[in-house]
Symmetry: C2
Subunit: 499 residues, 2 copies
Amino acid sequence: MAYFDCASSAPLHPVARQALLAALEEGWADPARLYREGRRARLLLDAARETAAEAVGCRPDELVFTPSGTRAVHSGVAGALAGRRRAGRALVVSAVEHSSVLHAAEAHEAAGGTVVRVGVDRTGRVGPAAYAEALGPGTALACLQSANHEVGTEQPVAEVARACAAAGVPLLVDAAQSLAWGPVDAEWSLLAGSAHKWGGPAGVGLLAVRKGVRFAPQGPADEREFGRAPGFENLPAIVAAAAGLRAVRQEAGEEGGRLRALVERIRARVPELVPDVEVVGDPVRRLPHLVTFSCLYVDGEALLHELDRAGFSVSSGSSCTSSTLTPSHVLRAMGVLSEGNVRVSLPPGAAEGDVERFLDVLPGVVSAVRERLGAPVSAAGAGDAGAFAGEAGALAGEAEAEEAAAFGGEAGPSSASAGAVGGEEPALTVDSLGKRCPVPVIELAKVIGDVAVGEVVAVLSDDEAARLDFPAWCEMRGQEYVGERPAERGSAYLVRRRA
Amino acid sequence: MAYFDCASSAPLHPVARQALLAALEEGWADPARLYREGRRARLLLDAARETAAEAVGCRPDELVFTPSGTRAVHSGVAGALAGRRRAGRALVVSAVEHSSVLHAAEAHEAAGGTVVRVGVDRTGRVGPAAYAEALGPGTALACLQSANHEVGTEQPVAEVARACAAAGVPLLVDAAQSLAWGPVDAEWSLLAGSAHKWGGPAGVGLLAVRKGVRFAPQGPADEREFGRAPGFENLPAIVAAAAGLRAVRQEAGEEGGRLRALVERIRARVPELVPDVEVVGDPVRRLPHLVTFSCLYVDGEALLHELDRAGFSVSSGSSCTSSTLTPSHVLRAMGVLSEGNVRVSLPPGAAEGDVERFLDVLPGVVSAVRERLGAPVSAAGAGDAGAFAGEAGALAGEAEAEEAAAFGGEAGPSSASAGAVGGEEPALTVDSLGKRCPVPVIELAKVIGDVAVGEVVAVLSDDEAARLDFPAWCEMRGQEYVGERPAERGSAYLVRRRA
């Protein structure tokens, strides 16, 4: 059994565990009290704050502990927006922020504020120039993650911080995914982190607010944590979180290098081993331990289930998982394939043998899921150069229309029929209404060879993922995505055969 | 060393500790994930919810875990007020609620809402009729604690709940102090609790919202905890909290009886052992483990310090502690003496021997503090029936003016001088400006014998506690509190010698 979902939650680091056990004995009392148990708790809290501040790169009195990374983000965004109300009510975020940032942004919109979402390129990275352009005179706050939680791409935080400073806008950096590996090397104004992402316990986040940044905590407050995080301090967990952060930092250089090489291996081998795969995210400017790829014609939930049965715990940004009905907003913003999506995030100490076993198991698991779905069998075998590896955003570019053509001889699906949709005149219309990802794309792949090169196929679909997966499929297969037209139910997605 | 401040934070119950250790191994993963570690975490979370719901007396789907009791109260108040916005914007609370409720009320006021604060009697108990009267057609929510955290008095929750039901107003019960001892036996609509008060770990609160209660969670939300408590679940601590609650409940009958008897002993013995003491709070309808008393002419911080040196950890609602500059709002609402205030709250397992040792040590500690302050030495010795024990709100009534008179022969303090203040004509004015509790009261006690019976002494004071402590002193000493008049600095407090 191998747990490869460290980006969701890291197992507790042994040092954090030890600190937690010690602090359960020494740090359960109220640090606001004057008696010995309280004073002891206060000493532990102060020491933990100093340790965390040193790791974050700020002063201890700039840092408070919150009940979670999510709460740190919520409090940070709300407090900074309120502190800058006179400047304006616009909030700038990247389109690929963690949901905690996007939820805070939605709450701001619901309260009458405005939100500007800066898009990303195909690697998931914001353009510093585009980000700078989004900053206006009415911008109260800007948010940018240090690195993306789904695809691992590092954001140009230093450049964006300079643009923010020039515009006089505070920048909140969500450093949840990167804090284990090092401090954020940029002039941030606010920073949020989450202990269970770095091997600390659940129940602890941190929020740093630089001196001089206007900040007005929202909601009821009390005397705890400088008035910025109400409620009794979760002290044993805070102590463990700080100890864990220091420990992972000491190991970050060596372990980061080791995991980077393992991820490199996955990035290189998966497209060789599995046909019709897109590896997403920046191949170089990325988190050391995280890699994400999407498998065409695969149902993400089935894939997770099969990998779990084979002993691998990974996660997926596919829409077709039971926890969500829409594809990941990150994959959507990147414009990459969402079906059959797998995120592998290696925990510290991940064994090379487990990674090798994962690479052994993956091809069979993917092909079994594809077979069950009746997906087109790729003419491209294992190691085929035509496999799609979206490294650095560049597309492999080789279309493999032969595969689709191989299905041309079969009778079209019963739902396929010729018809007119909008201005384009499709040679063939496939009705995929009511069918969930990845079935609409599979049905398109099966019929594309039925029309002549230059002709258009229309697929009717009401699946949320279709909007993302049809263009992504076209890009992967060298076909032309013509566009989407509203239909009586759902939309008609038009694809012109080019190969 | 004896820790007698369980009402601030209870030491971790052994069962909770064991559950925490087990859950650190089994429950660190994200319960929203589909792989084995996630499913295992989900099972633990579901089981903890069932256990907690059973202890609370609600359905599991009515209960969410929050990061603390404070956050449970904040979220509960905000969500219930928002859910009932159409009904009105008035919030009814008792004057002796925990600060988390009062802070939520202040936030509501700051946002334009209104707050009605229902007063209490001298035992700290709200009158059900007065509470019912406070409920109006525009009342969105009512809050009442199950029992007071500073003096232990149980509130008439069942009667207030009936009044609320009759008025169609939801009632939020802050059960933080009583949940260890049993469910709240009343028809509440919302209920909040805090794990570290019942022997669970820090970092866990609970909020129950009955089905059918209008509730609109405020602030950014996510998919966690039915959308009512955003952020990664603090799962090992939640598991420990639920296990701890079940464990303390199993022991509640026996342990409650044992602690009740120990508290009874303290309530009876302290007024016998220490002169000029007021035991506060309801002597019968009270928490089993908590007793509070106030010592005349004593500085609360010095008292805590000396008790700490003697090996006892207790807390104080006095103003003269370094963590606060105003007397406890609870003591103020009760109208009882705030100086030299001590709260003893016994943890489960508190040793009878420690309680006896506390009773041995206390008289010497109090008299040492009094001596250092130059306080009047009471003529009433240990065991004197004249000692003031405010049981059931009845006053001992016996004035001990002899004591004050004993000081009459001495020269008045240098700052004492005759003068006119307002309509009353004080025979003597004492300038206690700039002096902190309990000094102004000590200075009054020293001079009261200098004036004839029927004459008035004025004390000039700018101490926050004076407003509370002068009337309380008069009530204890059988003197007449005439009233307070604004002075050039602070106020003049007028006292007529009656004995």
